[in-house]
């Protein structure tokens, strides 16, 4: 049966240089990322090339994605949060497009690598921390001190708040990574059952079962691909709201 892990292997295309002792390797993952950036940019630029007052279908798609993300940011982080809109939009589209490209058979899913999702989460958390301190100075630390808590309970509450804050980048990155990884493994395993059963004589009669399951799983994974991008954008907006309004 096909190895379900094989699809996550990085394939070297070229070694472009070294940083210290570390080789910098162009892999298919890098190509997918660059391709996604190009696809997103072309999607928006071509979609808006008409600048129509009454949008075409294509332009409507672009506007829809714009307003969808803008609505997410505005509802979670308020109008002030719109200064982070380009960041949230970039994150949303980057994750969405890479997730969807990953659904194409034989393609590679960039977001199934923890380092990429962690880097995405790190961008969010670093933005929160840096903006938080720049805008509010030490008041930003008030984020960790809930108001209206008795003094004897404060150390415990602060510890809990700190742990919850630190776990945010972890949960943010692991949620996306694990969803994509698990989904693709499950898909591969069930799809792998089909040729395995067909090759096993009379067992071949059962082959439509895993095939049907694979189709159902594909639909589910499409949903997950979109949903995870949305969840990431929503959580990003909520965390950015903390940077804007650190007081509880």
């Amino acid at each position: 049966m096909a190895d379900p892990i094989h699809q996550f292997e990085l394939k070297t295309i070229a070694t472009v240089g070294h940083i210290g002792n570390m080789p910098i390797v162009l892999t298919q993952s890098s190509v997918y990322m660059i391709g996604a950036v190009l696809a997103i940019t072309l999607f928006i630029l071509l979609g808006t090339s008409g600048r129509r007052l009454v949008p075409s279908r294509f332009q409507s798609m672009v506007e829809l994605s714009y307003e969808f993300v803008a609505g997410t940011v505005r509802s979670s982080a308020g109008t002030e949060g719109m200064k982070f809109f380009p960041l949230v939009f970039s994150l949303f589209m980057f994750i969405l497009i890479l997730n969807l490209i990953g659904m194409v058979p034989y393609s590679f899913t960039v977001t199934s690598h923890i380092i990429i999702t962690f880097a995405l989460a790190a961008i969010v958390i670093l933005t929160v921390i840096i903006y938080g301190f720049m805008a509010h100075g030490t008041h930003f630390l008030g984020l960790f001190v809930p108001s209206g808590v008795p003094a004897w309970l404060l150390p415990l509450m602060v510890a809990i708040e700190v742990i919850s804050f630190v776990s945010r980048p972890i949960s943010l990155s692991v949620r996306l990574f694990a969803n994509m990884l698990a989904g693709h493994i499950a898909l591969k395993i069930f799809a792998g059952f089909v040729p395995a059963l067909l090759a096993a004589g009379a067992w071949g009669l059962l082959a439509p079962l895993p095939l049907a399951l694979t189709i159902a799983l594909t639909a589910l994974e499409m949903l997950v691909a979109v949903l995870q991008a949305y969840v990431f954008a929503t959580l990003t907006s909520i965390y950015l709201n903390d940077a804007l309004h650190p007081g509880h």
Partner: protein
């Protein structure tokens, strides 16, 4: 080509997973991060500098256009309302004026008719009195004639009966007494 990423030494780094599970292969992290930083950085710049302002511009333009249209419609409606109000006012004024004119005309005509009627009545009264005077004069004249005729007749009758003429003055007095 088409080989799992390996470090230049090929030896697994301490704590690394060797080439077991690709997503946890820390040897690839550096390369992935470098290309991720480039790709995402470029995407962010393209989005924030070019793509999103463009979409925002389109949405803004539409918003403005719709707002302008609504404003223009509201202005036109106000103009229409004003025109209707002006028309109604003019209509009321015209009605009022028409009524005044009608009233004046009626009064004037009534006065004229009245005057004419009075003039006619006075003329008729004048004619009536004149006629009455004429009748009275005629009557008086007739009565005088009647006395004369009666006198003559009486004189003649007396002459026939008595055979002698009576004095005229006595006959006239007796006639006047009888008539």
């Amino acid at each position: 080509m088409a080989q799992p990423v390996q470090t230049s030494t090929g030896a697994p780094a301490p704590g690394g997973h060797g080439g077991g599970f690709p997503p946890f292969d820390s040897h690839s992290f550096g390369s992935q991060l470098v290309f991720f930083a480039i790709a995402f950085g470029v995407l962010y710049v393209l989005m924030s500098r070019f793509a999103l302002p463009r979409v925002a511009g389109i949405l803004e333009a539409r918003h403005k256009s719709v707002e302008n249209d609504i404003e223009a419609a509201a202005k036109m409606k106000a103009e229409t309302d004003a025109a209707i109000a002006a028309y109604e006012k003019a209509l009321m004024e015209a009605k009022g004026r028409a009524q005044t004119i009608a009233g004046e005309t009626r009064d004037r005509l009534a006065a004229e008719t009245d005057a004419k009627r009075k003039k006619l009545e006075s003329e008729l009264a004048q004619k009536l009195t004149d006629a009455e005077k004429t009748i009275a004069a005629s009557k008086a004249a007739a009565m005088a004639n009647v006395a004369q005729i009666a006198g003559d007749a009486a004189e003649a009758i007396i002459k026939q009966v008595t055979g002698e003429a009576a004095p005229r003055a006595t006959v006239d007095a007796a006639v006047a007494k009888a008539v």
